[in-house]
């Protein structure tokens, strides 16, 4: 009698255990269907709800970084032996190939838009200006990190020289690479052409530089030769490579896809401090 009861009880427990596990599994797999997560993800109004978090994050980080805190700088021994190159690895096209062959002596960086004195500077011009060197960690939105040494001209110095006019709020960077195809056609706002934008707070930060050297050597093609942006307190996709035109604007909604950058036009957040 007792034995039977015990067996019965054990069976019930085993059933309960299996039931619990199966229930948990069903809950996990079934919930995404019940919650209609894919349909919700595709809905623009729901995306607007989720986007609220981006503004909270930006406001919070702006508040806590109001002191202009610096990103951590590392020792030369911390430099990653292999710094992963991502995005465009070689812009290609006749125009860029010619610049590579010439050693970028005819590459010019144009600074215009809402400035008092538009500037056009060669790489040699930039190398003659005061520079800043920093060893920093590069954080990709995908999750990986690499540490590299960068030397370049502080963007703040260039912007002061150009004279930012009242009302300018964003700095837009136009690049020579096209992630969708051939960069030689269509101009800087054609589909797929890489571009980025940052606010003036980040643009004037001391660690925001137009870099021309990486780990003591001129930038190689995979890492953005001859000029790339470093914005150390944001993710890698903000750090435009192959930069040839900087424009000051009050609004970026009229530029390309209207979200302030190549990846932003694909749905990534404009504020990339997280």
């Amino acid at each position: 009698m007792t034995i039977i009861t015990r067996q019965k009880a054990l069976l019930t427990r085993r059933e309960a255990l299996l039931g619990g596990l199966a229930g948990g599994g069903l809950l996990l797999s079934g919930c995404s269907r019940i919650l209609q997560v894919d349909a919700l993800t595709d809905s623009t109004s729901f995306q607007r709800v989720l986007a609220v978090a981006q503004s909270w994050t930006r406001a919070t980080q702006r508040f806590f970084l109001a002191g202009g805190q610096m990103a951590k700088e590392y020792k030369p021994s911390d430099i990653s032996p292999h710094f992963k190159a991502n995005g465009t690895l070689n812009p290609g096209g006749d125009d860029y190939e010619r610049h590579v062959a010439e050693g970028f002596v005819n590459w010019h960086l144009k600074i215009d838009g809402m400035v008092s004195h538009p500037l056009t500077l060669s790489v040699a011009d930039l190398r003659r200006l005061p520079s800043r060197s920093q060893i920093t960690r590069h954080d990709c939105v995908e999750g990986w990190s690499a540490i590299g040494g960068w030397t370049g001209v502080p963007l703040a110095l260039l912007l002061r020289a150009a004279g930012v006019r009242a009302g300018a709020k964003y700095v837009v960077f136009y690049c020579a690479d096209n992630l969708d195809g051939d960069p030689a056609k269509g101009g800087e706002q054609s589909p797929g052409q890489y571009y980025e934008s940052i606010g003036l707070v980040d643009a004037m930060h001391p660690q925001t530089i137009i870099a021309y050297d990486m780990n003591g050597k001129p930038l190689d093609v995979a890492h953005g030769a001859p000029l790339r942006l470093r914005v150390e307190r944001q993710l890698g996709y903000k750090m435009a490579k192959y930069v040839r035109h900087i424009q000051l604007v009050s609004d970026f909604r009229a530029i390309a896809g209207g979200h302030g950058g190549y990846w932003e036009d694909q749905g990534y957040d404009w504020y990339a401090g997280i």
Binding site: R13, A16, L17, G19, G20, L21, G23, G24, L27, L28, S29, C31, S32, V37, D38, T41, Q47, V49, L50, A51, V52, A53, Q54, W56, T57, Q61, F64, L65, Q69, M70, A71, K72, Y74, D78, S80, H82, F83, K84, R137, D139, C140, V141, E142, G143, W144, S145, A146, I147, E232, R233, Q234, L235, W263, Q266, G267, Y268, D269, A272, G273, I274
Partner: protein
């Protein structure tokens, strides 16, 4: 004689027919509300977190780590689409879900902690007493035999429950901190915390391990709910009312 026997029988029958189960008010409304918000939030955070993880399914120890570096843990296969949120691989959308519900988790958690500390719920109901600590071996034995407390003992959390809930709170705090340490903006604000955790990639690895521990907690939690009486347990987390299992049940 027959009368007395009949009386005794009917008394037993009556007790059997109407077991006087004591109903107690077990969970206060803030516990119930934050519990269900958390349940949904953690479900979404795990799903979107696995989607984000699939963008680079390797974990490292230290500040840096990428394809060329030795991984701490590398996954051969991405997480299947029925586990990720959204079900298709989309880092941008997964981040939107993740960061929105990370804010929900933080606000819900802050409210829970503030209420639980002010009402002494944590100190009274969750923090193990000295007697609880001494009862750990017996409690482990009871759990292995799937023996659940009855009567007076069922009115309070047992020591393993207390440790599990306090541990879960610590894990939740750990999730938020390791999550923040992956943010380059936060890292400029508190580089010391990133360093204390071993670096940004260590924080990412810990974020994954803590999340795994939370998923393990949820699995055990669900099994225990089923074993302890799913309807009574569910009701207690919805209405607050809990039927105390009798000594002879």
């Amino acid at each position: 004689m027959p009368t007395a026997a009949a009386e005794a029988t009917s008394e037993t029958d009556r007790r059997r027919a109407q077991p006087r189960r004591e109903i107690i008010y077990r969970h206060a409304w803030p516990v119930r509300l934050t519990h269900w918000i958390n349940a949904l939030t953690i479900f979404i955070l795990v799903g979107s977190g696995l989607n984000i993880f699939n963008a680079h399914p390797r974990l490292y120890w230290g500040q840096a780590g990428a394809d060329f570096d030795k991984p701490f843990l590398a996954f051969a296969r991405p997480w299947p689409d029925w586990l990720t949120l959204p079900s298709y691989m989309d880092l941008a959308d997964a981040r939107h879900w993740h960061f929105f519900f990370a804010w929900v988790l933080v606000m819900n958690g802050a409210f829970y902690l503030a209420w639980s500390l002010a009402s002494r719920h944590i100190q009274r109901d969750l923090w193990p007493t000295a007697g609880d600590v001494r009862a750990i071996p017996r409690s482990i034995a009871d759990h292995i035999r799937l023996k659940h407390p009855k009567g007076e003992a069922a009115k309070r959390y047992n020591v393993l429950q207390r440790l599990a809930y306090v541990g879960l709170l610590a894990l939740a705090v750990g999730m938020v901190l390791t999550g923040l340490c992956m943010s380059p903006g936060f890292d400029a604000f508190a580089p010391w915390l990133v360093a204390a955790l071993g670096g940004r990639q260590s924080a990412r690895t810990l974020h994954f391990l803590f999340a795994s521990a939370i998923v393990l907690f949820i699995a055990v939690h669900l099994i225990e709910v089923v074993l302890a009486g799913p309807l009574n347990e569910l009701r207690s987390m919805i209405t607050g009312r809990y039927a105390v299992p009798g000594e002879h049940d």
